[in-house]
Structures are given as C-alpha cells and as structure tokens.
Amino acid sequence: MKHIIRVCTCTGCQANGSLEVFEGLCRAVSGRKKECEGKGIEIEVKETGCTGLSETVPNVLVEPSGILYVNVNEDKAERIVDSVINNYVIDEMLFELDGKKYGKLTDVPFFALQERVLLARCGYTTPLSLSDYIESGGFEGLKAAVSMKQDEIIDILKRAKLRGRGGAGFLTGIKWRFLKNAKGNEKFLICNADEGDPGAFMDRSLLESDPFAVLEGMLIGAYATGATRSFIYIREEYPLAIDKVKTAIDILKENGYLGNNVLEKFSFDIEIRKGAGAFVCGEETALMNSVEGKRGQPRIKPPFPAERGIFGKPTNINNVKTYAFVPLILRNGPEWFLDKGNGKSSGGTLLICLTGKIRLNGVVEVKMGTALRKVIYDIGGGLKSGKRLKGVQTGGPSGGCIPEALIDTEIDYESMQELGSIIGSGGIICIDEDDSIIDLCIFFLDFLEKESCGQCTPCREGIIQMKDLIIKIKERKASEQDIAMLEKLAVYVRDNSLCGLGQTSPNVVLSSLKYFRDEFERRISGKPVFKINEKCTGCHLCFLKCPVKAINGSPKEIHEIIQEKCIGCGICYDVCKFQAIDKE
C-alpha cells in the first residue's frame, strides 16, 4: 500500500516552519522503514504546492486517505507517520471550525465551496516534478495548440472571454491578436509577476506551487503570436518564487520544452528579470522601462506595447494567472471556461487572496460572479473574534472599500466597477468595526505617495494633498469645504493622471466618501466632541443607549467613548444623569 504525505514548502508555509515539519516527517519515515517493509507499506514524504489555507500552516495532507492535518509542527511529525502506519486519524490535529471537526480536505468548507481550477494541482503534486505535471494533464494544452493555426488559438481565447487577471481586465485574445498582427521580425512576451498589491500573494503562491503551468501558458502564447523571446519580471521580494521559476525553466530546457526546437514547431526562450522594489513597475509600460535597465517610469500610450514595446519591438504583457489559465482553456475548451464564469463578460474563475480580520486567511478560487458574502462567511469563516464586518477593501491600493451592506454583491468586473472599486489582482481585505476607514485611506495614500513615479502633477501632487486633507479631517481641523475639495481633488486625479496608478489612486478615497461619509463628516471641526469625565459612576446607561456601541466600560467602572466609532449623536450626553459627559 503506497502512501504519500505532502507538506507545502512555499514562502508563507516555510515562514511558519514547514521545512522543519518536512524534515521531521522524513526522519520519522526512515526511522520506521523496516516496520513499513514488514507491513507491506510504502510511505513517501513529498513537497507540494500551497493549498491556500494559510491560516493554519504548516498543513499536512495524507494520501490516499485525503486527511488534512493542520497547525503541524516538527514534534507532531512522528505521530503523523504513526497514524499512517497504523491506519488511524489523529483527532486533535484535524481542522476544526465552530465546534465541528473535518477529516478530509475535500470536506472542509473552505475547500469544498471553491472551484479549484488554477489551484487544482496545489497540494497534490510536487511543484518542480515534470512527471507529476505531465501526469496531471500538463502540456496537453500546448500539444493541442501546436496542432492549430495561430488565429484558431486566439479565437478560442476570445470565445472563452479570458480577461487579464492583472487588474486592467482587458480581453487576452484581443491583446494576443494585436501582437500576432504586429509588424516586426522579433516579438516579445512578458509575464508580469511584479505582484505589488499589499494583501495579494496569489501570484507568488502560483509561481511557487505550479510554475510549469505559467510557463506552458507562455509557450502557447509564443506559438500563437510569433514571439520568440520573453521575460518573467518577478519582484525581488519573492526570492523563493524566483528560485522555483528558475529551476522550472532549466528543467524545461533540459527536456526540450524551451530553446530552439520546441515540439519541432517553434523556438522560444524565457529569461528572468527581478524587480528592484518599485510598485509602479507593475504597470506595463513602467515594467518595460525597468526591463530595459531604466527608471521604472510609465510611458504614454499610444504607442501601445504591441506596436512598440521593449527595445522598440512589439511586446505583449500578461499577468501570471492569465498565462496559467491558457493551457487549461486549450485543453478543456472555451465552453468549459465560460461555464466557470459569470455568464456576462468574463469566463473562468477568480483567484482571491483573503486577508485582514478574516478567520481563515489564505488563497481561494471561486467562480466569477460568486457573492462576496459567500467568500467571506462560508469559505473564509467570517471574522476573527466575532467582531462585526465593516466592509472589505478590494483591489489593493487601486481599489476601493465596499461596505457590509453591499456584501451580497457578486464579484465580477462590472459589479465592482459600478460600486467604485475594482477586482484588481484579486486581493480582498476584511475590516471590522474597530478599523478606521480614515486610517485606511491615509495608509493607502501614504503607500502611493512613495510608490508614485512622480512624473505627472495630478498623481504626484494630488496624492500628497489628498492625504494631507484627510489628516486634517482626522485631526478635526477641517471644514465642510475641505471635504468637498477632497472629493473634487480625487475626481481630478482620477481624470488627469498619466497612468493607471494615478488614475486609480483616488478610488479608496472616493469609495470611502461614498459609503462611509459619516466617518469624515462627524470630524468636521465645530462638530461636538463628547468625552466622559471623572464624574462617571459606571451606571452603564450610556453604554446601553449608544446606537453604534461606541462606549467601552464595565458596570461600576469609569466608561470611555471610542472616538473612532462615535457618530456625535449626543444621546449619551442627553441620558447621563451625572454630568459625566463633556461636550466640546
């Protein structure tokens, strides 16, 4: 009987000791080799890609039983091996949520409710094993592609309605057609792995867990467009991903999948370029400048990259996830992909990074058009420590905040845009009642202030002044006119900036003003501020009467008003019998 014990060794898991778990398991297995042989059991310990359940890492998956053990550490390795040899399940190490324990990974709601297409191999194959990849359907897409004409492949992508997963959401088929039709003796592909959105790490996860999929997508892209050379631009903050991709490229070269004679049909090379710490280099024209060894400043468009890209040659740039979808579409057909979509303008699934105050942090994959509520509560397990959800921030610094009231919204490109946010690269950050929207705005603007390239006035100066206005509001020194000016300024920056970074930088401000305006307005200077003084007897009446639960305190103790939450309604002031509340 053959058993495989799988441990993820991606960056996140390693940071929590998964390598030690891996080594512990290996030691345990070799220590009981004789026993296993005697019982006719073979146990292999293998590395695997990340399942995405980052909250409980290190996670261990046992096959063929499919049992998932969570929060594993080195000391527990022996027990796991024992449980495999003696065929029992370790109850205490199972995944538990709300009092219920789950044995198999596939039973855990976090996984069961997902539609795992890009993440299909994660947890079940060894990332750098070419044989694992091929056995699980690898290169079927490429083989199908090389039997078609270039236009046929592009047509399939268009019918599948594959939209770029980097943030802009442009139809990939159209982009590839531009490159295919571009005049030039040399064309380039670029894979944008400069995942700079704070709160998004699914590209890293994918590159570390299933690198061959991304490379196969690029190979198909090369065949379809006539590109012969390419670059993968990976952030230098992802050293493990860089390493894995480098090894994957070497393996492909050795096996004839890269180089001068790929499947006897075409030649293609992939080179890695490392980002050097600039968020703006995720913008495609800035990225091209960076590959050319220059400052990563965005260029004006037109000319578009397909016309004049790196080194002046026609170039196509796509995100990691976009390339990873391509082999699956070629293998399973465009209708299959459309079926995983929302039936509107976009086919396929959505890879989401759930972070913030959510109980189950991690990477999940759902059908396009899944409701936010399902993702946060059913899959993500709701909020930590039972707090109330205030809203979610989607799309990183380029996105906006969506309030709890709109949590039934289905996630797709149109609906997000209608709400004033974007899907972006797929990050969703959950914020609870204790988080301040104003602080979140300041945080993002502070980030963008430093990451902006600084070329154009609206972005460079506009972000500084938006941030200063919000700080003024936070410090209660602002007036109604300041809030109006903030809004006006935000619209100006959105409509006048040169590149996507500037154009989307006001989203967080505009959406906050749209859905959380009261947080801004109640800070207008001149509005009353309520504070509890030492006359408080702890009668607890204000606590009970406060409509937004903005008062802390136990009976018989001096209470405190949480200014962040206070809406200035004055009810506490009115009901207090002891003059213990001051109105300023």
Binding site: G454, Q455, R460, G462, K472, M485
Partner: protein, 570 residues
Amino acid sequence: MKVRINEKEYEFQESKSILDACSEIGLNLPTLCHHELLEPRGVCRLCVVEADGKLVTSCTTKIRDGMSIETHSNKVIESRRMNLMLLIADHQEECLSCNKSTDCLLFKYANEYDIHGIPFEKIDKEEFEPDESCYSFRRDLKKCIKCGKCVEVCNVLQKVYAIEYSKRGKDLKMSTAFEYPINETECTFCGQCVLNCPTCALEEKYEASDLMWAINDKETVVACQVAPSVRASIMEEFGKNEGITVGKLVSALKMIGFDYVFDTQLGADLTIMEEANELLERIKENKGLPMFTSCCPAWVKFVEDNFHDFIPNLSSCKSPQQMLASVFRTYFAGKLESKPENIKLASIMPCTAKKTEARRYEFIGDIDFVITTRELSRMIKEFGINFEALDESEFDCPLGESSGAGAIFGVSGGVCEAALRTAYETATSKKLEKVEFEQIRGVDFFKHGEININGRVVRFAVVHTLGKARELLEQIRKGEAHYDFVEVMACPGGCIGGGGQPIPTDMKTIRERMQRLYTIDQLKKARRSHENPDIIRIYGEFLEQPLSKKAHALLHTKYMKRSYYSDKKG
C-alpha cells in the same frame, strides 16, 4: 481630415498633435513640459483638452478625422486650475522679489486662470539648499515644479547628462550625481536648462547689480562689449520693436553710463584672422585635422570633459569675447590714464557659459563682468530708457568696427562661413565671387560642404546642440566621417539660441534672429574680417601678423583634460 475645435470645423491635411493643430488655427494652449525639439512626454498635464468627451493631453494625442475637441470647456478649465493650484502649493512663492516673475510660466498661467488663494497646505521646502557653486547659474529647487524639461534638455538634446531624475513620487528631484554641486559635474554651463525652466528654479547668476555699482563709481572706467546675438534679440524684450537698432542700443548703453562701448564682432574678426590662418597651416602640414572651432565655451568644456582625444583638434584660438578683452587690456588700456585696477570690462552676451569662461584660470582678470541679454534688458528698464527718444550712436574706436563675417558669428554656420571667406582669399589671393555659403546656413542640425583651395578640397561641417556634436565626434572616432574643419555651437541655432537669451526662445524666434544677423552682414561695407579697417590697424600697430609671437601670447590658449568622480570617496 475634418476636426471640430470649440464647435467650429477645420480642415487639416496631415496628422498632427492637437496642440499643434490648435496652434495653427491661432490657439496657444498652456504647456509646461513641452519642448519643440523633443518628443512630447505628457507629464505636466496642463495642456489637457476634451477630445470626444475624454480628457487627454493635447501634446501627445493626434487629431483624427471626425474628432470633436473642446479646449476651454468647464471641465478643462477646472482641471487646469486644479493643476496650477497643486503646483503653487509645492512652490516657494517669492514673486515680488523673484528675478523671473516677468518670464515665469506659473505666474503667467496663475494670472490667466484667475487663481486666488489655494485650498491646500503649502509643502515645506526648507530642506532644499540652493546650489550656487558655479559662475553661470543658480539652482533653487524650492521653486522646481518638476516639469523635467531641464533633465530632458540636458540628456536628450545636449547629451551632457549632468542632471537626471532621482528618487520618485513626492521625493522626485532633479539631481546631479550624488547631489554634487553642479560645478563638480560634466555640466558645460550652456544654460539650455535655464532657458527652458518655466519657473525661477534655474536662473543665471546676476551680475548686473555689481556692474551698476562699478559704473556709478567715479574712479573706475567701465567699458563693455556687445555680442552680435544681443543686438539681434534685445528688441524682443521691448515688444519686438524693430526700431531698436544697434545704434540705439549703443546709445542706451552710453546712457546707462558705460565709458566705452565696444563690439564683440571685432573680437570675432580677430578670431577669424587667427583661426583661418591656423586652419591653413594645419592643412598645409596635414596635422591636427579636423580642426574644431573653440569660440563656444560650453563646447570647449564638453571636449575637455568627455573627449580627451579630441583636445589637440580644438583650435588654439580664444573666443571673440576673450580676444577682445586681451587686446583691450594691452593695446587699449595702455592708452588710458587710469590705473589698470580701475579699468573694468563687461561683456554683454547671449550666453551663460561665458560667465564661467571669463573666470577660467587662463583668462581671469581680463573680463570683470558678464551679463546676459535678459540682465541687460532689466538694466535698461530700471533706467526707464525710452528707445523712441534715442539717437543712433556708433561703437567706440578702436574696438568698434566690424565686418559682416564678424556679425554672423551669432548663428550656426556663421563662424565657419566667416573663416572660409578669409581662408580662401588669403590662400588663393583671389576674391570669392559669392561670400554667402548657403549650404551651411539655416537651422538643420548638421550641415556640410566643400571648397577647393588651391587644388586641395577642404571639407567642412557645422553642427549645433551638443547632442549632435557628440554624435559627430563618435562618427569621426569610428572613421565614418572625414572633415577638415568643423564648427560646433552648443545651443540650438547657435549663440542666438543661447542660455541668456530672451524668453521664449523657440524655432520661430531663432529664425527671426538669424535673419536679422544675415541682414546686418549684407548691409556691412566690409564683408570679410580681413577687410575690417580696425583689424588692419590693430595688426599693423600692434599684433604684427596673424599667428605672430604676440598674437600667440595674447590671442591663443591651452585646454585641460578634466575628469570627475574618480577621486571622490563616499
């Protein structure tokens, strides 16, 4: 193609940017980062218009058949006002005492767009210390609005690379390498950055006040020399009044109090006498070719910094301003009663590099002040001089007469043409049928030709802007280009496009200034340097002949190999 602009339909034959199309029909849209000779970058966003309902920058967007453009809709005006207010918030306002307030684009647009007070906090600029390390100009980043024109001009047009963008976002700064003072970099002081800066972040070092002190000092004798380019452009500072002739300019200078007003064009004639003969000698010995002109100090520094192998090819002649100064200090000053230390000479130049040239170790003391055309116009305005009421005056003897060849020194191609007029006639003892060399006139960046001198075909070339000079030097290095004589001017159009010239300086004004100088040449009695009676006298009485021992001592110079950064420790 048919395009609607502000609800009126226009027909255009070729594709062009919205900005150019509007300029054609008489609408000058506001710009900050735009430069005629460079690719549009679309970074200042001030030139936005609504094209088919969408805000786009007019400099980077091309017109299309059927396009509908609004240049001054409410949305566009609000955008531009917001843009200006944001810039003013990040700019140190010193307008009343600022030297550039009459030329400052921010000031101009703030007025035109009716900006009253800004709704933003002013950004603290205390950390920016001005860089006053060189003689030619001052860098004060408190006033920088980050349009990037200085960097683009230095790196793309001039290919000098003294400054570049550093850092990013709110910290974006136009810097030298490691923030070294500009004096310690490859900066040639050509002043194209100063000329193009929309605000006073870059301005020439002001010497006009010190000069006025000296003029008002009864003990000192103050003489001045006026460059050709100055007379060809000073009228632009007074409403482009073509009635401001060189004669009236001389009167104005006398009214200001200069004791003697000399003509740099005579210095130019001196330069030709020496340089033409030097060229003939080099051709005879077949050594030191190609010979490069050396009258442009920015070009000289460019060679000293970057092309050590070409230093021997530079003509050993000083520039006209320095040659005249040398002769002034010896031939002329000796005739005066005053003590040498009480005799001052001021140069009025279109150029910022001349301010540094005058302080070179080899020249220091010959010239005491160098002021630009802009500085002169302020002096004239300070005096309240009304040109209409002035008579015409002549330049003073013995350094006042000049030939047409001396006049065209201010334009690209002029030095070469002047030198050929004398070289040809000296070597062949024949007169040129036509003294105009059309093939090296005009604004093309690279012009060339050849002439047969006693059976030897002499090939000459003319370039302007240091970027084109760099390209030519590299071609010559690789053996792809062969010339005997090359004229290089650092500034577009030649000295008429210099760093100290009236603002704006663009191709239109450059062409107009060029035309004025060619007209002066045409109307001169003497067209060739060797026909200038003052020149004949100076050589007869004093210098003996061109390239004589005395001429060498006074009118020729040496150069040095400069290097940077290698000895810097960090």
